[in-house]
């Protein structure tokens, strides 16, 4: 099947404006602005079943409908923070198919009546931001951005903004704080960004991949999009496959593709042909799936992955084979979350401090069985007490590893 998002794999020069135009580029934006009401654009996106690709899977059209129409101006912010360990899809889109993403930003902006949109990129994407700046300038020159577009009264500017190395800035309210020139610490919610966002104004925050779907949905219609994927998860998804597979990389596939297909058909199987031991489907924030035949044959859509006691999240599939011990793995994930906790709430800040202390002991070979129990109980005490989901994320691997792989920890504390 031809790609819908990673179209540069079929059309290598699609980052060239002329090539993009020849392949239907900007037709959807033009159609939206010249022939459709903003409300109709939102309706098509809602009917398509498109759900947010940033992790939470929130219906995109619905989010646009929530924009407070009594408070102006409105903003669109593209979330290009991409910092979840195991996630590298937005970068491939922006580097190779930039215009489709930018057209998505433009259509979203028209749909919610925004005249300014910001792309918030993680600081490490410095070269990507410079590249997007060039592409934005090309669009301005060609009349796709700027004043009075396509002879209408609609005007739009798109700006890039670089973060500076903080995972928490991927959380949408922390991102908005950061964009306002402050430390990236999440806001208390509600109100949510469509009511109170950038500069206190109604704001849509959408992931890069989410927005990149939009031009083709407007061009081909909601039914076309819904014809792919599953009933609860419409369309295609980019699966970032990493870890102990022979061919790691991004694979754009319909929702409902099984883990087995992704790992063996696309990923080439496991290094040295060893058995798969575990899968983390949502990056470092995942509950760890213990792998058996049934797990491997589970379709990757939001509802099915949940039956395995895990989430699909951003579909960053980290594959773990039988050479890996779970105490080693937790040492990695806890290091990450301890480093990335923004420190605003005590359970997350202190809890991750203690979890790190305990896992270093356990993994270092000086821990006891009580330490393992204590680690699990600290994780449980963090759950449900935090201002943002990072606190929750930091406990997912810990609790699931200890509950589902007790033998690994027995070995760690006895060796």
């Amino acid at each position: 099947m031809a790609h819908i998002l990673l179209r540069h794999r079929d059309i290598p020069d699609i980052s060239n404006l002329e090539v993009y135009k020849k392949n239907g580029g900007f037709e959807a934006f033009k159609k939206a602005v010249t022939k459709m009401d903003p409300g109709d654009v939102t309706q098509v996106v809602k009917d398509s079943g498109l759900r947010g690709r940033g992790g939470a899977g929130f219906p995109t059209g619905m989010k646009w409908l929530f924009m407070d129409r009594d408070n102006w101006p409105h903003y669109v912010v593209a979330n290009a923070d991409e910092s979840e360990p195991g996630t590298f899809k937005d970068r491939e889109i922006m580097e190779n198919n930039p215009f489709q993403f930018l057209e998505g930003v433009a259509i979203a902006s028209y749909a919610v009546g925004a005249h300014a949109a910001y792309i918030y990129l993680r600081g490490e994407f410095w070269p990507v931001a410079a590249w997007l700046d060039e592409k934005i300038a090309e669009m301005e020159k060609a009349g796709y951005l700027g004043e009075k577009l396509f002879g209408t009264n609609y005007s739009l500017r798109i700006y890039t903004h670089l973060g500076a190395g903080a995972y928490i800035c991927g959380e949408e309210t922390a991102l908005l704080e950061s964009l306002e020139g402050k430390r990236g610490q999440p806001r208390l919610r509600p109100p949510f960004p469509p009511a109170y966002g950038l500069y206190g104004k109604p704001t849509v925050v959408n992931n890069v991949e989410t927005l990149t779907n939009v031009p083709l949905i407007i061009a081909n219609g909601a039914d076309w999009y819904k014809s792919m994927g599953t009933a609860d998860s419409a369309g295609v998804k980019i699966f970032s496959l990493s870890g102990r597979v022979k061919k790691p990389g991004n694979y754009e596939l319909p929702f409902g593709t099984t883990f087995r297909q992704l790992i063996y058909e696309y990923g080439g199987g496991i290094i040295d042909d060893r058995p798969v031991k575990a899968i983390m489907a949502a990056g470092a924030s995942s509950s760890i799936i213990k792998v058996d035949d049934q797990a491997l044959d589970t379709p990757m859509d939001y509802a099915s992955v949940r039956t395995l006691g895990a989430d699909l999240g951003s579909a960053s599939v980290i594959v773990i084979d039988d050479t890996v011990s779970m105490d080693w793995l937790l040492n990695k994930t806890i290091h990450f979350f301890k480093h990335e906790s923004c420190g605003k709430c005590t359970p997350c800040r202190e809890g991750n401090y203690w979890m790190l202390h305990l896992i270093e002991r356990i993994h270092g070979g000086t821990g006891s069985a009580e330490d393992v129990e204590l680690l699990k109980s600290v994780a449980k005490q963090i759950q449900g007490k935090c201002l943002c989901a990072l606190g929750e994320f930091s406990t997912m691997a810990v609790v699931s590893a200890i509950e589902r792989f007790p033998e690994d920890f027995k070995k760690a504390v006895h060796s």
Binding site: R91, A130, R183, P248, A284, T333, E340
Partner: protein, 168 residues
Amino acid sequence: MSLAEKYPEEIKRILAKYPPEHKRSALMPLLYLAQREKGYVDNHAMNEIAEMLEITPTEVAAMIGFYTLYHGEPAGKLRIQVCVDLPCALRGADKFLADLCANLGIEPGGTTADGLVTVEPVMCLAACDKAPVFQTQGPDGIAYHENMTVEKTMQLVEALRESGKEVK
């Protein structure tokens, strides 16, 4: 020389991105500008930015403390930031970091005696399928180096030592 004297055009372009009544948003890009030359933000620049944006120098300093890509202290001319996060570690990143540091005669986090490079372990860089991977942060900005070996990295360091410029 002040930032305003050194980078008048850049500053104008940065400020134009944000509504004038929310110019504090320019703080992050201005900090990047300030550390462009020396690799860190000195007190002079901090005070100048604070004045420009009508905030206190303490608020500027707090930003440098919060975000890992801003530096308040000088380090090696080039920072080599090696990803050792989970997906890369599953593909040999820890060993790459250890071998690289051994070759350079430093500990992770350390700087070579000639002040040329600092090697730092960092979190996921969104390149997990191309481990071992690192970024370089230096006067020429930030660049990716993917599917690396210690040998290729040492060549990069040698080239930098000889030319004073980073080879990409």
